[in-house]
Subunit: 158 residues, 2 copies
């Protein structure tokens, strides 16, 4: 529905540009933009947009837009031990024939070196920045296959 989507978009804009601390204030802002709705609907909109309310530095509350990192959960209680195993490793993701490893700043090249010297046939090559490694995967190899192989020396991978 058009009206609703416009409203959601307006809501995003309002939240990303102003610091409002209650639904009442958001409601007023939306109404100033010409949208006619009640608090009930606004509450549902906020839920759909996954907008969060958090305390601000100034001691008030602010509505904030969601982002990837805020939903991240640490996996298990032995995560400290796991962290020791391959220091610096943060995450790995795939897209098409590429893998992207994120590391702590400065760790990328040493991890990439390890991968390069492990002679993994599924991996054609890597290139490392400061905290990111790009991996090019051999044609026809699945991500799972690569993950399995990599996890032999990155135990905290998954």
């Amino acid at each position: 529905m058009k009206v609703k989507n416009n409203r959601l978009e307006a809501l995003r804009m309002i939240i990303s540009s102003q610091q409002l601390g209650s639904q009442e204030e958001l409601l007023a802002a939306l109404q100033k933009e010409g949208f006619r709705l009640t608090q009930a609907t606004l509450s549902r909109d906020l839920k759909q947009l996954k907008v969060a309310k958090a305390a601000s530095m100034s001691g008030n509350y602010v509505y904030v837009l969601p982002n990837e990192t805020m939903y991240k959960r640490v996996s298990t209680p032995n995560s400290v031990r796991e962290m020791m195993e391959v220091p610096g490793f943060l995450s790995i993701n795939f897209s098409g024939n590429m893998g992207v490893i994120k590391t702590r700043p400065g760790y990328a090249s040493s991890i990439a070196w390890n991968i390069d010297n492990s002679d993994i046939p599924q991996i054609l090559g890597t290139i490392a920045g400061d905290d990111t490694i790009f991996i090019v995967i051999r044609e026809g190899c699945s991500k799972r296959e690569v993950t399995e192989t990599l996890s032999r020396f990155i135990p905290n991978m998954k």
Copy 2:
């Protein structure tokens, strides 16, 4: 005070490892850890820690720990916007699941840093040379989607 700080630390741990959706649940979790307090105190703790409550993918609410980016307002120049305003940026083009940004010599790494820190979920990672940045795009995300996201910061990009 010791008790309070321990409690706040425990609270952080609980929130970062579990998905709890109400103060009642958090309260129970804290009490299981041996802390004795009421909802009122918990509310104050949450405010102090700047913990936020947001809708999760599963349709419930979750408490989430704060992070830098969630407080960013577009009025305070956003990094992607900054990137586009920076004289180093030249062009962006896509091929398959990759994007290539050309910059003036020497500018690539700082622009890539800006992209990395903008928390764009469609972008898995970037690697910068001297005047070129490679971007890997999340699977299933079209370049159009990436441009959409960028155009939220750069109106004239679309």
